[in-house]
Symmetry: C2
Subunit: 463 residues, 2 copies
């Protein structure tokens, strides 16, 4: 059953996936995938600058200054510090900052936010080795594919316990980094295996609003980069880390795995095209309800003050995640309260990053609205999750009228993509939230991101 680490003939699913990851060329990647990569990369830059002031980012940055070199080949997306470091620490810091404001992308069927781990890690390694824009794009496409397929394999029951963005994402990071380091098939397989045996990230932090969410994405970047660099230096990783008898499926999945997800339609389906932009600044599990509520309020001309109560019908995973944050005592927790988020959306007509503030936490009209929102499990919606993240809201008005509205897709989903100008607007808003005053620098970054396949290197992608 075991196979020599030197063998190069793929005969397991993960081996086929890794073989594809090492062989695909930039020119094989369809243009819509290239375009979406650039959009998601720009979106991640915005998320990172908006999240720069979080205490977890500060603590991780301080750790990097204590443990890392005094200067290195890699930059922070928050360029204000003129701080440079080694790729493992640059990935770690950018991986933390880009996951703070809950505005990073979502790949539904894997239940992961791939951008927050893939782009920071790939950017760091690309800066370290001087990769071109095309190399970078190909590495990110590969990283998405490996990470998202791993997440799909691990599935819903894994997500109930683990922060899949990190546990599956670390494999994607290793694959993207391996690609930029030009590792061969066997080395890449080792890197992915070493990444998987480090997979970690528990939801416990949700209970007391502590800082692990950023730790998980930061460490997925660090650990995946470690796996790739160490594989280049002959560190062997387990070959079948997903399906092996003591692999991730056996240890980290209490329910069903989806083996076919690992290697079906390689080169034809692209995970990156199935990733959604987050338009609202709240937990992604609230978005279908927010969109349905806003649609309902517009269609029936219902105002915030008119609403007596709201019932949202949703899937089980929404209960699992949103149920951990209580009533939302902190700004971060408030983005995980369905009632609070719907209140914000109903009152402001949007739930943007600037709508979740300390002031909002103390707004008694929002707190009262929050109490009048109830979540109900919808069997049909649940059955389609995580392939589809749907939502239905039922609004009872003070007038006695009752309305129902459903959405199959949220704004920003592949079926309802953001326009280029919306993506740019979101980037500008995120940069403003992050305190960037230099508008021409923002415009320059936007231009460079959309020109990525012609960039000679990845240096200077900092605000």
């Amino acid at each position: 059953m075991s196979q020599s680490p030197l063998s190069a003939v793929p005969d397991t699913r993960i081996e086929r996936l890794v073989q594809w990851a090492t062989l695909v060329e930039f020119l094989d990647i369809p243009d819509p995938v290239v375009q979406r990569t650039k959009e998601l990369f720009l979106d991640t830059l915005g998320c990172a600058i908006a999240g720069r002031h979080h205490p977890a980012v500060a603590a991780i940055t301080r750790f990097a200054t204590q443990m890392g070199p005094s200067a290195g080949t890699c930059e922070l997306i928050d360029g204000s510090l003129s701080f440079t470091t080694s790729p493992a620490f640059a990935g770690m810091i950018n991986g933390a900052s880009s996951h703070v404001v809950e505005q990073d992308d979502l790949h539904m069927s894997s239940i992961t936010h791939p951008a927050t781990v893939i782009f920071p890690a790939a950017l760091a390694v690309a800066q370290d080795v001087g990769s071109s824009g095309q190399d970078f794009i190909a590495a990110c496409v590969v990283g998405y594919e490996v990470g998202c397929r791993a997440g799909e394999y691990l599935g819903r029951s894994h997500y109930e316990k683990f922060h899949t963005t990190a546990t599956a994402g670390v494999l994607g990071v290793a694959a993207a980094a391996s690609r930029l380091l030009k590792l061969d098939y066997s080395q890449t397989l080792s890197a992915v295996g070493t990444a998987g045996t480090q997979a970690a990230g528990l939801w416990q932090f949700m209970v007391d609003a502590t800082h692990s969410k950023q730790v998980h994405t930061a460490k997925a970047c660090f650990d995946g980069i470690f796996a790739a660099y160490a594989a280049r230096d002959s560190l062997l990783g387990p070959r079948d880390i997903l399906e092996g008898p003591r692999g991730m499926g056996a240890a980290l999945v209490p329910g069903e795995t989806t083996p076919a997800a690992i290697d079906r339609n390689l080169g034809a389906d692209f995970a990156l095209l199935r990733s959604s932009f987050k338009w609202h600044a709240s937990c992604r599990h609230t978005h279908p309800s927010v969109d349905a509520l806003l649609k309902l309020m517009e269609r029936h001309n219902v105002g915030f003050e008119d609403i007596e109560s709201v019932v949202t019908r949703t899937y089980q995973a929404a209960f699992d995640v949103l149920g951990l944050s209580g009533v939302g005592e902190t700004v971060h927790q408030s983005k995980f309260s369905m009632g609070f988020v719907l209140g914000v959306a109903a009152k402001n007509g949007q739930a943007m990053i600037t709508d979740f503030t300390e002031e909002a936490l103390r707004d008694s009209s929002l707190r009262e609205f929050q109490k009048r929102v109830t979540m109900e499990l919808d069997e049909e919606i649940d059955r389609q999750f995580p392939e589809k993240w749907q939502g239905t809201v039922i609004v009872k008005c003070k007038s006695g009228e009752q309305f129902t509205e459903s959405v199959s897709f949220a704004k920003g989903d592949p079926e309802l993509p953001l326009s280029r100008s919306e993506i740019e607007a979101k980037t500008r808003a995120l940069a403003a939230y992050g305190g960037v005053k230099n508008h021409s620098k923002i415009e320059k970054l936007i231009e460079r991101a959309f020109n990525l396949e012609h960039e000679r290197d990845l240096r200077g992608f900092s605000f």
Copy 2:
């Protein structure tokens, strides 16, 4: 249910454990515990020097040179390179090298090898902050207590899937490092929580003899040190990472947990006193059978050539671990083959580090002996595992005679401790295996280790 991160009143088991860890003083630690700490520390130094040439250690060292500072406050136990680095990387490298030769200690009831993570990490942090010998001893005692109690809590079903030395050990590392950094109760609780949400390490590497075993211990050191330094810089970790609804027990334990283990008899029972030295150089699951076989051969005057077959009666976990390495194609795998190990012991009268060689792998008499060894599950022995690691062997001789021998304890167990001269002899053998020629340096290290409580700092503990 959730509690403010700022609250300082312990009301969960992990809070009581962490409170004890922050309050215990060196003078509270009984002398036998202090003495055993020094012995285990010396034993770890020997293991690290013996493991210095492993490819995993080389790859991790190279990673540290690429990602870390060009020089730092911390040394490698292998001092030959005059290499200094930051504490996270020193812990990482020493944590890898001390787990290579399968000679590090064993804490039975937690099924962990605590020394290989606690001492390397504590040594690095102690060197970084200039801790005294007494501070170091207290930190290691605390690290053992937190790591081993976490391992006992996680239990047997966890160990079937996970390398508990790393998954529980990382909490011990965080506690030991926190202690040396003089973190307060709330900070230490954060550090332990951040450690636990990074807990990782799968057995899949056993299937193809890849390098994750050392990755796990290396990363437990790195991750636990990260958790402590970040907690000092205000990173909040989940407060109830063991028993919380999305904590380690919920996510990483398919079977039963043992909550009482977390905080029973704090300050009265010391995990460190319950740790065994490894006398034989093979997987610890083979030791009861090796000791029983050697005892049987001596008692009945049976020689290697006289043996027709051996049946070893053992516990389930031995099957789970030993069953993954096949017939032992590599030197490392051969230490996990019950048949091969018993052959070595029977032929050489010992199973020391110098007995497992490429030559031995090709020894046809050992390979034939190996085939005549059968493992059987013994219900009674299994019921007592992991509190007791017992073994019975039944030997059928070519003469037709049959003998049975059992052992309740292995040589090196708390009940059959190594003498000081045996510990010194083992250290000298390990150093010789590691290629150390400077005998006076070895003697000096032995002397310093036994004088540890009077040492003013921990610098220079290198071969």
